[in-house]
Symmetry: C2
Subunit: 498 residues, 2 copies
């Protein structure tokens, strides 16, 4: 970047503008580990700034009109738009305001009863209590010898107690044996305890004899015995409402005799995309046309988030067929997701159709990429319809920010949002004031326990190939215009499809 | 625990034996946050030991015969077993030795071609190159005004350059417009750039005029323009071999026109369980009988790990039907998983049937719970058959340790194992020398960035209800017999079903 120093500000390069998504000091050692090297001096390094970059940044803040807005105020249009909705007349709202409206409007689908294996990954919607005791009979807690604790009370390594071994009890033996004082029965883990025995001596504490066994240690009554109901007593709660059904819960449900269980169902999400420029993936795009990637990518993302997905594809241009398709999706879905309702060919018909079905609130959200969003509840059932930008990278970012939390809310999950971590930025990041910026990045763990993140690609547009290399979103808050190299930034790791 | 001080050693309690899975100093403040409080003094607290406990531990190590073994040596039977296999004659092997044999034997299923959405979550098995340029035409990188950079070279905030606005280009317009010098065209992100324009001026850097626009800043040629092939050029790699197919990859595959893609398939895993004591979940267990939970739990775990699962249920007692069922599963599966081949009713017939199909190597693995394992390659196709203990908790631990990595290897995943973290143990843990111990626990993040773990339940048997409350496995290495409260321990977080 040295050559940039000799250039003038505006004439110089694209790297120094406020709207740049990320630019700035490149990593000094562009080896794969360069980002990690930044942390060598300590786990919370002091910001190391490139003076030239800082000057530029200050300069930019003074000279370029900032798209600063007070949230909620009617604001000038910071990023112009040519669609049929008058974007400049739209209220600007914060990410939280838009998210709150969506989360406040999604339905809570009624619980359904599923076979336990089909319930996997869903949240239990009933309080499952056991009508049984688990174990249902007194059984050996490990392999060894069932004896009476009184018989071995004096046993030590120096003076073992010898007992005669009478038979053997394996798991599944249906009849309860009995032993008299002075006798032992060899038992396998899970085997029914013989009457007269109250402890299992672990084999390792004996000479492991077959006809007679020498016991080296005394044990308190009940040692290594699983008492009836030790695990679950009749009436005990086996699975609570809201518990995610995983292998351990399935194990427990089966054990208490449940073949079916009531769960929060997967929300049904229809995915549509709009735009006269779109052709399906099988077609060869003509001039100005592009392949519909959004209905595929959003369908995959919605399924990844836990939804049952209908990929309904490209909305037709014909108004009658458009309305028919929208209505059929409203009937079958808990949520309808549409990518690309603004600023594309056919936007007028679509907006009319949406209006006729109940009306959408078109809105500018103070975020980048993709500030243009819409939300409404359409049709007889007032089904939530979420419109996200048509630009594929912005569409998937909008999915992460608004749709994934909504799907998780419908699933009943307590944790709606991905966990975020603070990471050291390997590069300077610039961000427009007043907008929350989401950048794709690669985050890696630092051996010392922290994280380092590098934005993907060379900046001003996050494209598909770059997005496909990302493993996180970097989130730069509305009031931050610059994150210096070495500074801390919020990172949302995404383990999609991996 | 104060009253224990007055008791003798062996006669006193079960809490102080080497075979105890976990015992020791309870958390001093048994409030929900008690574990976290341990970290208050610093992020790497010095071990705080309870003197009485330490004495007991030393005492135990001196007095109780230890199941110590040299790995790989023929060893005495440390945990006796009453099954038909002569367990005491089995070589003891380490967890790694058993795992290595399994991982070295699992097949690599041939790639299959799937529709892109069905490929979600799988690993790409072909090098996908693009025959197209993305974008396929020069387009606006954001909403604004397409102009010639030469026209605005002198533009500043103080002296804006005014240009006449001619028309508007939205995404999907099929025909390329052209502008002459001194003119601007309003463009939406994704719209085709008019000939004659080489930059897009962001709307925020203009007065956003309709007929005429005042531009406040100069831009380098190419600024905010997506050039043809900027994202992907013809011949570029779109998706590499081994890349997990997530929404971003599906987006890119669609964009380059791929409807189908070759992926590593989900391995087909049959899940069976053995034992005359077993009844299916719908039945009411009689005396000594227990419900088959393993075929459900292991099926869920295998599906969670990425396998396509057949839950074939309980193996029949009749030798002919037993062999028929085994053979049919060998034919349809990449791996057969059987729980409970030892020490249960019907073990003889099962072991004979397995022997007739190619032979199993029965083995003791130096781990707890569930040291008894078996592995073989059976049938014409030499299908790997993995036998895990029948005790449900031990079965799921064995799945985690041996089967999940095998499934991930067949899926082609690079990361076979769950990530482990070091956590501060909130309680003292005791572990048998020479055995790797896996304990279910609850791990939580400490606000300072570390982790704290508490074992689940009161110890000597990890049961179903306790396992269902766990979110991690605590791993205590073979050569560790004690982890003091406040000491560091290895933890394997498990996000099953959540």
């Amino acid at each position: 970047m040295t050559e940039d120093k000799s250039r003038g500000w505006f004439g110089g390069s694209r790297e120094t503008t406020q709207l740049d998504l990320e630019r700035g000091t490149p990593v000094r050692h562009p080896a794969p580990d360069a980002g990690l090297a930044l942390l060598d001096e300590g786990s919370a390094p002091a910001p190391s700034r490139d003076t030239v970059q800082v000057e530029r940044s200050v300069f930019a803040a003074e000279r370029v009109p900032s798209p600063a807005v007070s949230s909620g105020d009617r604001a000038p249009d910071p990023i112009g738009n040519t669609g049929s909705v008058d974007v400049s007349a739209l209220r600007l709202r914060t990410v939280e305001q838009h998210l709150d409206e969506i989360l406040g409007s999604v339905p809570q689908p009624d619980p359904i009863e599923l076979a336990v294996l089909d319930a996997q990954g869903l949240l239990c919607a009933e309080l499952v209590t056991s009508t049984r005791a688990l174990p249902s009979f007194e059984q050996a807690g490990l392999d060894g010898y069932a004896v009476s604790s009184a018989d071995i009370a004096a046993a030590t390594v120096e003076a073992p107690v010898e007992l005669a071994v009478v038979g053997e009890s394996t798991a599944g033996s249906g009849e309860r044996a009995a032993i008299n004082a002075g006798l032992a029965q060899k038992v396998a883990v899970g085997a029914m305890m013989p009457a007269g025995a109250d402890v299992v001596v672990p084999a390792a504490w004996t000479d492991q004899g077959a006809a007679r066994v020498a016991v080296y240690a005394a044990l308190a009554p009940g040692s290594y015995v699983r008492r009836t109901g030790d695990d679950v007593a009749p009436g005990d709660t086996a699975v609570q409402i809201g518990t995610p059904i995983g292998p351990a819960q399935i194990s427990l449900l089966a054990a208490v005799g449940r073949e079916r269980v009531s769960v929060r169902p997967r929300p049904r999400v229809s995915v549509l995309c709009a735009g006269d420029e779109l052709v399906d993936v099988g077609a060869t795009p003509g001039p100005g046309q592009i392949v519909d990637v959004n209905s595929y990518a959003l369908a995959a993302a919605a399924r990844d988030a836990g939804a049952e997905v209908y990929r309904a594809g490209i909305l037709p241009g014909d108004p009658r067929r458009l309305t028919d398709l929208l209505e059929s999706q409203l009937l079958r879905s808990d949520v309808v997701l549409i990518a690309g309702t603004f600023a594309s060919g056919g936007a007028d018909q679509l907006q009319e159709a949406l209006h006729a079905l109940g009306g959408m609130a078109f809105t500018q959200v103070a975020m980048h990429p993709g500030p243009l969003h819409a939300f409404g509840r359409l049709g007889h059932e007032q089904v939530p319809v979420i419109c996200v930008p048509g630009e594929p990278v912005a569409a998937l970012v909008a999915f992460e920010v608004f749709v994934r939390p909504a799907i998780r809310l419908m699933l009943g999950k307590r944790q709606l949002f991905r966990r975020t971590v603070q990471a050291v930025s390997a590069q300077q990041l610039l961000s427009p004031l007043g907008y929350r910026q989401y950048l794709h990045g690669q985050v890696m763990r630092h051996p010392d326990g922290g994280y380092v993140v590098e934005p993907i690609g060379d900046g001003d547009q996050a494209m598909l190939a770059r997005m496909a290399r990302a493993n996180c979103l970097i989130v730069v808050d509305e009031d931050v215009t610059e994150v210096s190299a070495g500074g801390l930034v919020t990172v949302m790791p995404m383990l999609l499809g991996g």
